[in-house]
Amino acid sequence: MKSVGKHRGAGRLLTGLVFLFLYLPIIVLVIFSFNSSKSRKVWSGFTFEWYKELFSDQMILNSFYITILVAVLAAVIATIAGTFAAIGFFNMKKRPRGILLAINNLPVINADIITGVSMMLLFVSARSLFRFDLGFGTLLIAHITFNIPYVILSVMPKLYQLDNNLFEAAQDLGASWFQAFSKVILPEIRPGIINGLLIAFTMSLDDFVISYFTAGSQIQTLSMTIYSMARKRISPEINALSTILFGTVLILLLVVNIREIRQEKKLKKSSGKLLNPLD
């Protein structure tokens, strides 16, 4: 879409204001991670103290480890399971598929708190039957459960775009089912799978409500630790941890973007020399 010049100025202004709004609290957090007192609004000098303390704070590090572990495991398992489930759904008749997709969508449209509460009720009632504790296992199950729908939702559209004949053509040419699947279908739907994986990972990482209800008493995710701290005094160590996390993601994104820009430039250059392929 092209817009007229005068609109662009207004658009840029709005974009700038929204970014200011989105980043203001983050800037505050980052700045006060270097504050030499514990205050979260009065600046009293520069220090790296909180970064040092962070690496000796077992509780925060432990909950950070659990958060990452759950997010990675849940995202990977959900992506594998969700991809196969999506392929299964795709090959079903319209009626059952519609019903199953509606159920699949439940955790997506439902409020987190209801998903969390209902799973807690399940785990607590199953606990008395099977004698287990709420903990890492239940947390992981909960995360997988709310991740799979996102994977399915991002893989499904890719399946719809798929040319049905491709798969059969491959098999007619002698490919086994597995070969046809991994060489033909998988590459086609890969963007959907990767997108699903990323969404699942982000969802897990940022989740608080569902973890809060399903993690039991032995472990805490980072969000839960922050929540319990937010109701007393948050230690600036948490600011330091988030600053590190945020910085890492920012740098990663920059690196990826700069590489892409370089490649584009290369591409332009090489396309200048006619008929000279890239490699």
């Binding site: 879409m1 092209k2 007229v4 658009g11 709004f21 989105l22 983050i26 708190i113 799979i148 969000s223």
Partner: protein
């Protein structure tokens, strides 16, 4: 026969999606001693004010998100491809910083001795009481969920074929007419999915109201949390309230879908 691939997940859904919801229904329809009862629904009118307040605040937050998010998505879609990419990254980036912490940071900004008020009094202006008000809670909702409004609208807007717009212009439509007749209708699915993605978490939040509302204006989420892990243990009543909330949400979804005509595929991030 590839549909068998979905059987494990169907079993999984039965256990971890359907069974829990059935449990909520069972809890809502039983009393503490386990006998069947409608008692939990009998005093629902006590909570009418909470229902109404939650709805109104979530609606206001959703409306503000549309008012900011729609022009923003439009502006983004008008940028060049590289800038577009960077801006979208910038919108998603905050989500990588823990949302509790971001919300908590607003406390430092909004408090009576916080950053805004310090700035105001340094300039010799009167201070404003912002924290622990319903306005602060709405601000928290808008802040947290605005990206969920911008992204779906943006993703349908970039898919509008430039040729359609050009054709309309060639046929003499001015830019206002182009917007009204072409861009707006085509972007509607994005708006609808944005609305659900903002409204549902807003209406059910309990963190934002707790951190920014000072515990003075209970929302539906607070009410439910209170009955399960909070200060007034009664999972049966909590389940009944959850059930009603769920019915409201699903009813809203169905109304939306009617407008959206199964566009759900178009718009997940």
């Amino acid at each position: 026969m590839k549909r068998f691939l979905s059987i494990p997940y169907i079993v999984w859904m039965a256990i971890f999606v359907v069974a829990p919801i059935i449990l909520v229904v069972v809890y809502a329809l039983t009393s503490g001693s386990g006998s069947f009862t409608f008692e939990n629904f009998a005093h629902m009118e006590n909570f009418l004010s909470v229902f109404i307040r939650s709805m109104i605040m979530a609606l206001i937050a959703t409306a503000i998100c549309i008012l900011i998010g729609y022009p923003l998505a439009y502006a983004l879609a008008c940028e060049g491809p590289r800038l577009q990419k960077i801006f979208i990254m910038l919108i998603m980036l905050p989500m990588w910083m823990n949302f509790l912490l971001r919300t908590y940071a607003w406390m430092s900004i909004l408090e009576n001795t916080g950053l805004i008020n310090s700035l105001l009094s340094a300039l010799g202006l009167p201070t404003v009481n912002m924290i622990n008000t319903q306005g602060a809670v709405v601000l928290g909702m808008v802040y947290n969920y605005l990206p969920f409004m911008v992204l779906p609208i943006y993703s349908v807007m970039v898919r509008i074929e430039p040729s359609v717009v050009e054709a309309a212009q060639d046929l003499g439509a001015n830019s206002f007419k182009v917007f009204l007749r072409i861009i707006f209708p085509l972007s509607l699915p994005g708006v609808l999915s944005g609305i659900t993605m903002v409204f549902v978490p807003s209406v059910s939040t309990f963190i934002i109201s707790r951190l920014l509302g000072g515990g003075k204006s209970l929302l539906l989420g607070d009410l439910i949390e209170m009955q399960f892990l909070g200060s007034a243990y009664n999972p049966h009543l909590g389940s009944a309230i959850s059930l009603i909330m769920m019915v409201i949400i699903i009813a809203c979804m169905m109304v939306m879908n009617r407008f959206g005509e199964g566009e759900e595929r178009a718009v997940m991030l």
